[in-house]
């Protein structure tokens, strides 16, 4: 049923769907944007953390006196105490605030901790060696996989997996906190959840009876910009609580931002997933069975169950999953949790099965699209991607080719939800003609601020430059955390409804002047309010607002809203294809080209939507070819917790990237989130392209040169 809140039809849109530059772009590109790390309020103290050098140990003695005696040290708080265990290197033990960062660092060196060192495990890839660290996980069977494997015309067995990676946010985790009065705390937070930090901090402070009781509303969280989170920045964390306590203790603002090695060790990791897979198909390529024994680590805690098999669901399947508890930094959500790793395990196994069937993977995946939730979407997108990468021209049987550089293509498919999160927005129209959206959301770099402005501008029929967005502040109406691709649907829905409601009030104000009997007879168009039946009868926006005299229109919009139409949806499909070259002598893989075809419903800002997909491809190239957290079992130490040996792609490493949004095709579904889905397929697509190039499977990502050479050796050399 149509409602007044529905998105305008394509012909009636003047802003939505266009390519608009991000509104905070100039502030960021000129260094004016102020991140949590950039806050230097008067009297600032800088805090540093004391962290564990051991992977597993019990604290037996703490001596803070040397640190406390150092001139310029203003406060020390313990995060862990004597008797507590630290279960990974880098685990936080205490925080010290000092006049300068240099003094704080000196103090950390004078802070003495003694430990009883316990045995540790930091590697999980060889699950046979994990012993009592193996924790049972999901067991699930559908159909009769054993029988199906016996009856299949063609079967394949293989080992696949993806190593743990870390978020490596450019702005490390941290906050600048000022506890000013008894019930007056300001947190400049690097967070994906402006609306959640206050409650999280209040809960943590309540655990300390020596502190005054504060409620979430006593805590103001300010985050106009933040330097990357990717799923790892939803909580105040121990260092944020410590900064608040140090601020209370000293009466001064305290900044604690993690060091780079701390950021990589303790502020977020994407779990590994590995699996021994058995798959079977009929002669015609129809997949009949998927059977996997899988394992993963999320650190010492329990990990989530795998999303296996991924997207393609044969009638017979069995998943037996275990978690391995390791003394490594704890897992946090990472763009599309579980999906990228499970895409590797599934789609690499299926590509190898297609090879045994002597089928082109494009034909195999199209044939088995019937086993997905959206067969037509995938078939259409596979065809489009194949066209854009010139699959027919480039595909050859795996390993065919000559010379020391071999080229190959591979593909992967993915899905994600992206439903709208809960959101409230207030739209304010003032007599001077200004129009603002106020919303307690945050722009984590995805372009949320720009999207809100575009929805407001579209609804009020004003140019984007004429509207304001006030966000990134917990004093505005609450809106959900930015995770799981839920933000764009949430904020665009609440903003749309608030803007429609506010516009209705303005229409009522001018109805008399226009000779209309009700607001329903009036529409907003090109900066005017006018009669629908007689467009020449109109009043300019500023003149209309002047009619408000001293009054201000302030209207709310909510997501969800049962009577407010359906503005957002969830559930998308996407296809990616990669074209790589592999040097058979060095094992080095080079990206030639990558294509992403992606559906995400109604697109608000085409330019920023494309940026999300480009970014996903590049992040995916990093984890496909280089990126990996490396621990040393002997010492328990995270060896590459820096940016030199934790390898990320540079500008020359990405090849040609092509993004094709399925614009217009699925607009009727409304807005659907986009942050996660395109980040899923790159690793599987690139691994499959390497297989096509060299005719040997590199079982796990990242596909590093040593593994390429090992796979070639196993296959019997270059031939």
């Amino acid at each position: 049923m149509a409602t007044k809140y529905d998105w305008p039809s394509a012909a009636d849109r003047s802003v939505i769907g266009r390519s608009v530059s991000r509104l905070d772009g100039a502030e960021k590109a000129t260094g004016r944007a102020k991140y949590a790390y950039d806050r230097n309020p008067e009297g600032l103290l800088v805090g540093r953390l004391v962290t564990s050098p051991h992977a597993n140990a019990r604290i037996t003695r703490i001596d803070a006196s040397g640190a406390e005696r150092l001139k310029g040290v203003r406060g020390v708080v313990l995060i862990k105490d004597i008797g507590d265990e630290v279960q990974w290197t880098g685990a936080e033990i205490a925080a010290i605030a000092a006049d300068t960062e240099e003094i704080a660092r000196d103090a950390v060196r004078k802070f003495k901790v003694e430990y009883e060192v316990l045995s540790h495990l930091v590697k999980e890839e060889d699950v046979e060696k994990a012993g009592n660290r193996v924790v049972p996980g999901q067991e699930n069977t559908e159909g009769d996989p054993s029988k199906a494997l016996q009856e299949a015309d063609v079967t394949h067995e293989g080992y696949y997996g993806a190593a743990t990676i870390t978020h490596c946010c450019m702005e490390p985790h941290g906050n600048t906190v000022h506890w000013k009065g008894e019930k007056d705390i300001t947190v400049w937070a690097s967070t994906q959840a402006v609306g959640r930090i206050g409650a999280d901090l209040a809960k943590n402070l309540a655990a300390d009876p020596s502190l005054p009781k504060v409620s979430p509303s006593d805590i103001r969280v300010i985050t106009p910009v933040m330097g990357g989170g990717f799923g790892s920045k939803f909580n105040i964390d121990s260092w944020g609580v410590a900064a608040a306590k140090l601020s209370r203790m000293t009466g001064r603002p305290v900044k604690i931002m993690l060091d780079r090695d701390e950021e990589l060790q303790m502020a977020g990791a994407r779990p590994s997933y590995f699996g021994n897979v058995k798959v079977g198909a009929k002669k015609d390529g129809t997949l009949t069975v998927f059977d996997v024994e899988s394992w993963a680590t999320s650190g010492v805690g329990r990990g989530g169950n795998p999303a296996l098999p991924y997207v393609i669901e044969p009638p017979n399947q069995r998943v037996r999953h275990v978690n391995v508890a390791t003394n490594t930094g704890p897992a946090r959500a990472w763009r599309a949790p579980r999906h990228p790793q499970c895409a590797v395990i599934t789609h690499c196994a299926l590509t190898d099965l297609a090879h045994k069937l002597d089928m082109d993977p494009v034909d195999f995946f199209k044939k088995n699209a019937d086993l997905t939730a959206r067969p037509d979407v995938y078939r259409t997108e596979i065809d489009k991607a194949a066209e854009l990468i010139d699959w027919k021209e480039k595909y050859h049987k795996p390993g065919e080719g000559s010379g020391h550089v071999r080229r190959g293509v591979g593909l992967s498919i993915h899905t994600w939800g992206g439903r709208p999160h809960d959101s409230q927005c207030r739209v304010v129209i003032e007599p001077d003609g200004s129009a603002s959206a106020e919303i307690g959301s945050q722009d984590i770099g995805t372009g949320t601020r720009t999207v809100i402005a575009m929805v407001l501008a579209e609804t009020l029929a004003l140019p984007v430059s004429r509207v304001n967005v006030k966000m990134g502040d917990s004093s505005f109406p609450p809106s959900g955390a930015s995770g799981g691709s839920t933000t764009v649907g949430g904020v665009s829905s609440s903003t749309r409804r608030a803007a429609v409601n506010a516009l209705e009030k303005l229409k009522e104000k001018v109805a008399g002047d226009l000779g209309a009997s009700s607001a329903d007879e009036i529409e907003a168009k090109d900066g005017y309010l006018r009669l629908k039946e007689n467009p020449k009868k109109r009043i300019a926006w500023t003149a209309a607002c002047r009619k408000l005299s001293t009054e201000t229109i302030s209207e709310m919009g909510n997501q969800p809203d049962r009577d407010g139409g359906k503005l957002a949806d969830s559930g998308v499909g996407g296809v990616q294809m990669a074209d790589v070259s592999v040097d058979m002598e060095t094992g080095i893989v080079t990206m030639n080209k990558m294509v992403a075809v992606q559906d995400c419903g109604l697109i608000i800002d085409l330019k920023l939507a494309e940026s999300q997909v480009y970014g996903s491809l590049i992040m995916g190239i990093c984890s496909a070819l280089w990126e990996e957290r490396v621990y040393d079992q002997m010492s328990g130490v995270y060896l590459n917790a820096d940016m030199e040996f934790y390898k990320l792609a540079g500008i020359g490493d990405i090849g040609e990237l092509v993004v094709h949004m399925m614009t217009g095709v699925y607009d009727d579904r409304g807005v659907i989130g986009l942050g996660e889905p395109p980040a899923i397929s790159p690793m599987a697509a690139i691994s499959n392209a390497v297989f096509n190039a060299i005719g040997a499977r590199v079982p796990t990502v990242p596909v590093t040169p040593d593994k390429v050479l090992a796979a070639l050796e196993k296959k019997g050399g270059m031939a």
Binding site: G31, T100, I618
Partner: protein, 207 residues
């Protein structure tokens, strides 16, 4: 914010312990001091307490007190509240702290503030939204979270001033010292090539 001056032993300080102090404080900076240039600087031992220095930044002199171990990046961000240059790796890998010193791109995390005395320092704060490089970064959406962006913009500015009419391969080589986590390289490539049409060689403002 300096409180350390009077807490440090005034005497008994040797060049050797100075270099050790620097190495602990800021990693790669120790190696930097061991260059022939530093050797040639000879006997002028300063520190370890705070010393006065004057930095010429964006055409203006700024006086400050800081220990010799303080990097140019920390001097800019913590002492002068010029927070455009970002601290990300703090080990000369990622380029988020890039500034220009005497017309060349430099990682500010790996140069000591005292080393920058007497040199022309140019930071992101010298650029406005209408300058070609930032304007083209916005136009081509060469940023997402934006935390690497000021460093990228300065690297790009220095590169284009020294390399007019670059090819895409030139741009990729010239900007290979900067890392972005959000994955904005496609936009950066386009922004650099477009800005190249407007940024001419030479230092436009004399610094």
């Amino acid at each position: 914010m300096e409180g350390l001056k009077e807490t440090q032993p005034p005497n008994g300080f040797s060049r050797r312990s100075f270099i050790q102090g620097v190495s602990v404080g800021s990693g790669a900076a120790g190696a930097l001091l061991a260059t022939p240039e530093a050797e040639a600087a000879g006997g002028d031992v300063v520190g370890p307490g705070a010393v006065s220095m004057t930095l010429r930044i964006n055409g203006r002199n700024h006086s400050l007190e800081a220990e010799p171990r303080v990097t140019l990046l920390d001097a800019l961000r913590d002492r002068l509240d010029m927070t455009g240059a970002k601290k990300v790796c703090d080990r000369a890998t990622c380029g988020a702290c890039t500034v220009m010193v005497d017309g060349q791109a430099v990682y500010a995390c790996t140069m000591l503030a005292i080393e920058a005395e007497g040199r022309e320092i140019r930071t992101i704060e010298s650029l406005s939204a209408n300058d070609p490089v930032p304007r083209n970064f916005v136009k081509h959406d060469a940023q997402q979270c934006g935390f690497c962006t000021p460093g990228f913009v300065m690297a790009c500015q220095a590169f284009l001033e020294n390399n007019p009419n670059p090819s895409q391969a030139d741009v990729e080589a010239g900007l290979s010292g900067n890392i972005c986590r959000c994955g904005t390289y496609v936009g950066v490539r386009l922004a650099a090539l477009d800005a190249a049409k407007e940024v001419k060689g030479g230092r436009r403002r004399g610094y």
